[in-house]
Amino acid sequence: MGTKKRIVIREEYCMGCRLCEVHCLVQHSQTRNIIKAFKGEFPKPLSRIIVEEKGYVSFALQCRHCTDAPCLQACITGTLYRDKKTKAVLCNEDKCVGCWMCIMVCPFGVISRDLKNKKIASKCDLCLPNEEIQSRSSSGSRRTSKKTATFGMGEELPVCVKNCPNGAIVFEPGEKDALRNHW
């Protein structure tokens, strides 16, 4: 059922607590332990979700997994690819050379740099289950699959959705979703 669902933001209920960032970071850390992720991992893991704020309006933003995604066209190495099953835009980090063209073209500014590794790092993967991450494009090597599999969390819900205390981030079927509208 996880397929074709997309993260939808309800900014009228976003409190700006940034717990989504905290949990996203933990989810994409090595240990996936909140205390260790913050206090014991170097380099410090990065959140793939960003809370934007102005005045009392705030909302969490992450990759929209656009239908007509500019980052896919801009990527020169095939690092970014469309997952066949979920239609999510995913990232095969091993292929990334750090040209950051995706960052240049992303209309939402939701891909951010991993300065330490000179690669892209902050790219929402919808916390997809392992097997879905592994069902990447055929170019992915066996070794990389194993490594990146650590990012496949096997969560029913993306952790930002699950941990939002106020229902401001929801995971909804994406048929009539905002992908096109956003882009």
Binding site: Y13, C17, V22, F38, P165, N166
Partner: protein, 518 residues
């Protein structure tokens, strides 16, 4: 020297090992009790600002925070306790009236906790509500003394002889009634005292559970008209937001005379809370104080009340019940009797422990009587006068759980209003700082930074859950007594017994002491 109120009420304990400096607490505290130091990458606490609402504790992702009462103590003194010293200090500093939110928190006897329920054994089978019907449906409104039937023509009888009662033509008209699927209503909380999201949650929950919420005296926001069928609109002394459409949108109208938390006192919504939306809803200029006078200035006597009741009935073509809400005061029984005789279809009585957004502390804590006694004497008085059926009784003020509800009904209430319990369901932890407008839970505030903290979808769900849970518990207790319809418990004081009560209390409550048989 200029003494400040010390020590602080609460101490925020932060487990440094667990704190990850994510600053959720810093961002979320409307009172600025948490402070982030960027240089040290640590979060510290200003205990003086903490009100004990526990929002930070709830939001903290690592459970690093604990809110404790400050263990610092004054010299023990039975007359001059810490609260008294602090209050005097505060008033010496400000020269003002002390304010408080929520209901009276003083340790007066809670009679609910001295009343026990009955259950069937041997002579009468108890009923399992999971397997057999158990009815909570309740009708609020005026009931006639008698139903008149005229015999129908023999032809009609012949045609309908399969139907058991259709051979009688109904001749008695019934006054408008409110149909409740469970005898619990949400009590009056105005848009202004609480946020629009809180109002929406209450309205949607009432609609979903088949009951009613009450607008308080804050008028009806345009977004809430769609829930009109589950709305009781209030007409209070300030007449805020009262107009034809408002009255017609509602299912019932309530004239507010008094409130349990502040009998004899009016209301005051400070201008800073009167936003554009509130000014539109209340029909007052933006930014002006909304003052509700202590009395209705067109009601100085019972006959004036009668005029207002009938003015409202006229305005709504006698299609909606019109009730009156009073606070429980010493003379409540005769007052209620007068109200019923003035034509009220229901009387809501708000007891000593009823809540408020803001009231002078001294009034909140010292004026009025407990709802248990008020309901008991009013019900008895109305029955003695033979007019109990002419109006429904709604008990309000400090109803904490389903046991309180069933006891209130057994004493004689038709239904209960819950206010504080509904707020707690939506997050409130009774920090009693409603009057500051800095409710971290997004309930008692109009600050757009804070109001969005209550997602009405979540609020609705939690309220519906609460009503469901309490209804199930009420059914269980009813079944235990061998009763399968709530009306057979209403006013059925034989099902109650008192423990640890004086003879006078028992007499007023109209119940026997525990241990005494029928």
């Amino acid at each position: 020297m200029a003494k400040r109120p010390t020590p602080t009420e609460f101490v925020v304990v932060r487990d440094e090992q667990k704190c990850i400096s994510c600053q959720a607490c810093v961002r979320m505290c409307a009172n600025d009790a948490h402070v982030y130091d960027a240089q040290l990458d640590t979060v510290s606490v200003d205990n003086e600002k903490c009100v004990g609402c526990h929002f930070c504790e709830t939001i903290c992702p690592t459970g690093a925070l604990t809110i404790q009462r400050n263990p610092s103590e004054f010299k023990l003194n039975a007359n001059w306790d810490a609260r008294t010293i602090k209050n005097i200090t505060k008033q010496a500093q400000t020269g003002g009236v002390l304010l408080a939110g929520m209901g009276c928190d003083r340790p007066y006897p809670i009679y609910w906790d001295h009343i026990l329920l009955n259950a069937s054994q041997v002579t009468n089978p108890s009923i399992d509500p999971l397997r057999e019907p158990m009815e909570l449906r309740t009708y609020i409104g005026r009931k006639p003394d008698v139903i008149k039937l005229g015999v129908m023509s023999s032809e009609f009888v012949e045609k309908n002889k399969k139907l058991r009662t259709t051979n009688y033509e109904l001749r008695t008209q019934l006054s408008p009634q409110l149909k409740l699927e469970t005898p619990i209503l949400f009590s009056a909380m105005s848009y202004g005292s609480i946020s629009l999201n809180a109002c929406k949650s209450l309205a949607r929950a009432a609609a979903s559970a088949g009951t009613f919420y009450n607008t308080g005296e804050g008028g009806l926001h345009k977004d809430l008209y769609q829930y009109g069928a589950n709305t009781i609109v209030q007409v209070a002394s300030g007449r805020f937001g009262v107009h034809k459409k408002y009255l017609q949108a509602a299912a019932a109208i309530e004239i507010k005379i008094g409130q349990g938390a502040k009998p004899g006192i009016g209301g005051h919504l400070p201008g800073e809370k009167v936003s554009y939306e509130i000014s539109q809803t209340r029909m007052i200029p933006e930014g002006t104080d909304a003052l509700s006078p202590a009395p209705h200035h067109d009601i100085y006597s019972i006959e004036d009340l009668k005029q207002l009741i009938y003015a409202l009935k006229e305005a709504t073509r006698y299609q909606k019940p019109v009730g009156v809400k009073i606070s429980a005061v010493h003379n409540v029984a005769p007052i209620a009797s007068g109200i019923v005789r003035s034509g009220a279809d229901f009387v809501a009585i708000d007891g000593l422990r009823g809540g408020t957004g803001a009231a002078p502390t001294v009034i909140r804590d010292n004026v009025g009587i407990p709802i248990e006694l008020a309901i008991a004497v009013v019900d008895q008085r109305l029955r003695e006068e033979g007019i109990r059926n002419q109006a429904s009784l709604i008990a309000a003020g400090g109803i904490r759980n389903s046991a309180d509800i069933i006891k209130a009904i057994a004493i004689g209430a038709d239904a209960v209003y819950i206010g504080t319990a509904a707020l707690v369901a939506m997050g409130c932890n009774l920090c009693q700082k409603c009057y500051t407008g800095k409710c971290n839970w997004g309930l008692a505030t109009q600050d757009p930074y804070l109001t969005k903290r209550l997602n009405p979808d979540i609020g609705t769900e939690r309220l519906v859950n609460l009503l469901r849970a309490w209804s199930l518990e009420i059914k269980e207790m009813l079944g235990g007594m061998g009763i399968n319809a709530i009306e057979s418990l209403r006013g059925n004081r034989e099902q109650l017994r008192g423990v640890g009560l004086s003879d006078t209390d028992l007499k007023l409550l109209g119940i026997k002491p525990a241990g005494e048989a029928w």
